[in-house]
Amino acid sequence: MTALSALIRRDIRIALRVGGGALIGVLFFLTVVVLMPFAVGPDLALLSRLGPAILWLGALLASLLTLDRLFMADHEDGSLDLITMSRTPLELACAAKALAHWLAAGLPLIVATPVLGLLLNLDMVATGAVALTLLAGTPALTFTGMIGAALAVTLHRGGLLMAVLVLPLSIPVLIFGVAASQAAIVGPLTFGAPFSILCALSLVSLVIGPFAAAASLRHGLD
């Protein structure tokens, strides 16, 4: 336990210090969401109809595109070697790193959601629904995204390639995230059904992500 909490604390600390990337993800989220109305046009009714979709897309892109250095930085400075050799199972260490990333880069997105909701003319209920679905769904994004981050180490190449590999995996999360938010706002479906599927997706990815990432890191040893 100390090992894992040490890892989590370290990663969060680095993300928040000068040179860390936590702020940039939120800014990207802000920018992408602010961008959408320019594309869609200043039709407030349409915007509030699309609001949840826009927020979800922004959060999806922001959390995937910040992920590519999750393992790469540790690989480059040799930390990953020591993590692999340690007494902590690699799966747990991967999970801890993803959790730290979610806390430092995912949670701020959710905190920023209400502000963006105002810009998109969402009412309180809608904003709350989106924030809640993001809270349930972004862990799934981070934990499937970490598979791509691990592949980036194996392939010695991050950036867009990683996003292209991971985006298809995150489509189900996006679908049920938006569906649950829409259900909460306009019906006719109940909020519960898609929301519980979303939670289930998050739980499944919480298991699959670390295993797949650890396997990919082990096979990428070189």
């Binding site: 000068v18 040179g19 860390g20 990337g21 702020l23 940039i24 800014l27 802000l30 920018t31 602010v34 109305p37 320019f38 046009g41 200043p42 407030l44 105002l118 810009l119 003319n121």
Partner: protein
């Protein structure tokens, strides 16, 4: 050892000039604080006394906060642009300190302009937010302030960050005329200029005087905060240089 030679050659360029600036700041700052407080008090008092507008009712009081902040949001970017020229053209060490210290203050003013504008927009236009040209261009200004702050945070070497930030600031200055003239170019919801315009102000004196007082007070507030923030930034760089020196000194 290699490192010990650095002590002789190191002149800490960063600090050569700002020393005088620090002394100056120490003397000027108390006066500035006093002036700001006095003017702000008078301004607020005058704003409270101002009559209600025949169209806008009491909400016109928001103007005394909104307009100075809106002006300052652009003014601060202007200051940063001049400082950026100083960084790029004259490579003056104080210039990047000035630019960096101004960014968070400018962002705060811009945020206030946006917020008070939204709060004013609700009673006046029936909505907090509208994607109109003036409002949007101010929002872009806010995003660019945040982007600059992110840049300063993301890069560890301050002189590197300074040069990049300077280029970006100058490019972003294109946004200033767009904000200023957007109401004239595109027919939008937002008020056209009534104070600063060709052919004199159209605003009634009972609004104009408190507005100008508040504007001067907020400008003084900016100058005060900016000087203090610049002092902090100089000290931060001094700490950094000393830490680097400590790292190379003790190894010898």
């Amino acid at each position: 050892m290699l490192t010990c030679d650095y002590q002789n050659t190191m002149t800490l360029i960063d600090l050569a000039n700002p020393t005088r600036f620090l002394a100056l700041t120490a003397r000027v700052l108390p006066w500035l604080v006093a002036a700001t407080v006095i003017l702000l008090t008078i301004g607020l008092y005058q704003s409270a006394l101002a009559p209600d507008d025949y169209q806008q009712g009491a909400t016109v009081k928001i103007m005394f906060i909104h307009v100075p902040n809106a002006w300052l949001s652009m003014f601060v970017w202007g200051v940063m642009s001049i400082a950026s020229l100083g960084t790029l053209v004259w490579r003056h060490p104080l210039a990047d300190v000035a630019a960096k210290a101004a960014a968070p203050i400018g962002a705060a003013f811009t945020f206030l302009a946006l917020l008070t504008g939204s709060l004013w927009g609700r009673p006046m236009w029936g909505t907090y937010w509208e994607w109109d040209a003036r409002l949007t261009s101010v929002l872009i200004l806010f995003l660019m302030y945040l982007g600059l702050m992110a840049l300063w945070r993301a890069v560890e070497d301050p002189s590197r960050a300074a040069r990049a930030a300077a280029v970006l600031t100058l490019v972003g200055a294109i946004n200033l005329p767009i904000i200023k003239f957007s109401v004239d170019w595109w027919n939008t919801l937002h008020q056209p200029a009534s104070v600063m315009r060709m052919g004199g102000s159209t605003l009634d004196k009972s609004f104009l005087i408190p507005l100008l007082l508040m504007a001067i007070a907020f400008t003084l507030l900016f100058v005060t905060l900016h000087l203090a923030a610049m002092r902090n930034e100089i000290l931060r760089r001094r700490v950094r240089s000393l830490q680097m020196m400590q790292a190379s000194q003790k190894a010898a």
